[in-house]
């Protein structure tokens, strides 16, 4: 079976620094694949290239068998790739529900529709409310986004990723800045989501990664030094030396 997402010899340099230095990686349909690595290993750079925010210098990315290396971000989103942001990225001056409804709207075709008031289109609103309910934010749906806590913003990011209906979710540190309790909720939630969607997860929280991942890839200085099941990674000498051992 060919992987849902396939990355071959991907390279991206900023000045003299190779942030992505020949990455090869396959993400299988339905798996939760985690990428770990020390700060500055190039994790976010990698995600940015996958979702189209950055263009690689060389290499290829295929999604569902089609080459998407040079497709713009909005095309990739339509093909079924979505991302959440490490630093919360929401439309702050809209309501929580509006934010999620926009994601539903994106999935339901183009929005060159000028007449009907968007806020009165029930299917959009209902589905957005459902997504918010799934992440436990039903109560906050009508609040201004800016009024929510950091933890709730992280949940919103997930609700939006869900609402796009994307097959592949690129989650960039969904646990960043969460308290222990919120982290536990988020882990439980991702666990429930597993299998339903293919997830490429970047995360610093090792407990979360080893609890959730089907496979883990270790990224160090732009290179993947190992890929395997959590057990294999835990027992890999290179990984221990390069990363886990130093913690």
């Amino acid at each position: 079976m060919t992987p849902l997402l396939n990355i071959t010899s991907l390279r991206k340099s900023f000045g003299g620094v190779a942030a992505t230095d020949g990455v090869n990686l396959g993400v299988e349909q339905g798996e939760l694949h985690a990428i770990i690595g020390p700060n500055g290993a190039g994790k976010t750079t990698l995600i940015s290239q996958l979702c189209g925010a950055l263009r690689p210098d060389s290499g290829a990315i295929t999604f569902k068998g089609a080459d998407i290396t040079n497709r713009p971000a909005y095309v990739r989103a339509r093909l079924g790739i979505t991302r959440s942001f490490q630093i919360t990225s929401l439309v702050m001056d809209m309501s929580v529900l509006d934010n999620v409804a926009l994601a539903v709207q994106a999935r339901t075709g183009h929005s060159f529709r000028f007449l009907k008031p968007a806020r009165s289109i029930q299917p959009l609103r209902d589905e957005a409310r459902n997504m918010l309910a799934r992440v436990g934010l039903a109560e906050r749906a009508d609040d201004p986004t800016v009024a929510l806590s950091h933890g709730e913003h992280r949940q919103m990011e997930i609700a939006i990723a869900l609402a796009t209906g994307a097959e592949l979710m690129l989650l960039d540190e969904p646990m960043a800045g969460l308290g222990p309790e919120e982290s536990t909720t988020m882990i439980a939630f991702l666990k429930a989501l597993k299998g339903d969607r293919t997830i490429l997860l970047i995360e610093h929280d090792m407990d979360a990664v080893f609890a959730l991942a089907d496979r883990i890839s270790v990224l160090v200085y732009g290179r993947i030094i190992a890929t395997g099941t959590p057990d294999e990674i835990r027992n890999n000498d290179d990984v221990r030396h390069a990363y886990l051992g130093e913690e």
């Binding site: 909005y74 989103a77 990225s89 439309v91 509006d98 709207q105 999935r107 929005s111 000028f114 796009t164």
Partner: protein, 322 residues
């Protein structure tokens, strides 16, 4: 985001006042105030069109005066040729033809310049829209056939069925109805799915692109709609002043339009109208008191920008508003 009761009342009062007061001025023998109101309402249409991109799209266009100029010359040039001959294809007194030309060329100009300008962001967008507008300004300045910087007198106003634009009251009512329609158009667009994308991209473009929206195309569409509406306002202004010159599309006019929008409240339905009312009235009152009226006027505008975030509509909404 949601129009409060107070905003609704202010909207009703302002729009009623604009409908009732100017005719009353005329009937009580103060024709000058009808003139003032006509200019005000026409500029308000331009401000409403600018608000679509500036207020809801976050695109600070510093070149909307160009559309006023294009619209005005779309009346002036056909009338000139109909009167003095030459260039037969474009010679006409017909109002429908003038409006079609004003709206069509404005839309085309917005499409071409927007396609280029929207590839830039922030200050660069401001500068490039202004540069395009100045190009149009210098183009008309160099057209000696149409008077160059001396301007062009529109000998005959656009001929429309049922109404006579030579009648000041009818001209005013046409302008007023146009303003109401412009407000309804912008309001409908803003609340539509298209409008949600436009506003979302203003708040966080990267997020919208990640959702799968080609925000560039949405912005370009809004820009074209805005330009076309502003061109229409220009055609009305040409019919009102009956004298047009490149002066009316200088960069300071673009600045004035921007100020009307920001003064009244960018991204609110009534904001640009309220801004135009206050702007024109303040200009009128202050300039009748002192020839140094620009100083208090400037201070007043600075005061609003500094202390009333969200403009006058922000003040009206109060703290509970946005």
């Amino acid at each position: 985001m949601f129009s409060s009761k107070r905003t609704r009342w202010v909207t009703i009062i302002v729009m009623l006042a604009l409908a009732i007061l100017p005719p009353v001025f005329l009937w009580t023998g103060h024709a000058f105030y009808l003139d003032l109101a006509t200019r005000l309402v026409i500029l308000a249409i331009a401000a409403v069109s600018l608000n679509l991109v500036l207020g809801y799209g976050g695109l600070v266009s510093f070149g909307h005066a160009a559309y006023i100029g294009i619209g005005a010359y779309a009346v002036g040039i056909p009338v000139y040729h109909e009167t003095y001959g030459g260039f037969d294809v474009a010679a006409s007194y017909g109002g429908a033809f003038h409006i079609l030309l004003a709206v069509g060329i404005s839309a085309l100009f917005a499409l071409i310049t927007g396609a280029i300008s929207l590839r830039t962001k922030g200050v660069y967008f401001i500068m490039i829209t202004m540069a395009f507008a100045q190009m149009v300004y210098y183009l008309f300045l160099s057209l000696d056939e149409y008077g160059g910087d001396d301007g062009l007198v529109i000998e005959v106003r656009s001929e429309l069925p049922l109404v006579n634009l030579d009648n000041p009251l009818q001209l005013y009512l046409i302008a007023y109805v146009s303003l109401v329609i412009a407000l309804l158009i912008v309001r409908t667009i803003v609340h539509s799915r298209f409008g949600m994308v436009l506003q979302g991209a203003k708040g966080n473009n990267e997020r919208l692109v990640t959702l799968g929206f080609n925000t560039y195309l949405y912005r370009l569409t809004a820009y074209v709609i805005s330009g076309a509406m502003c061109g229409f306002a220009g055609a009305l202004l040409g019919n009102f002043t009956t004298f047009i010159s490149p002066e009316m599309m200088g960069w300071s006019r673009s600045g004035e339009l921007m100020f009307m929008v920001i003064l009244g409240g960018a991204g609110t339905t009534l904001g640009p109208v309220l801004g135009s009312v206050v702007f024109i009235l303040a200009e009128e009152v202050l300039s009748s008191i002192t020839i140094f009226w620009h100083l208090p006027f400037g201070l007043m505008l600075m005061g609003v920008v500094l202390f009333a975030r969200g403009g006058l509509m922000g003040l009206i909404k109060g703290k509970g508003g946005k």
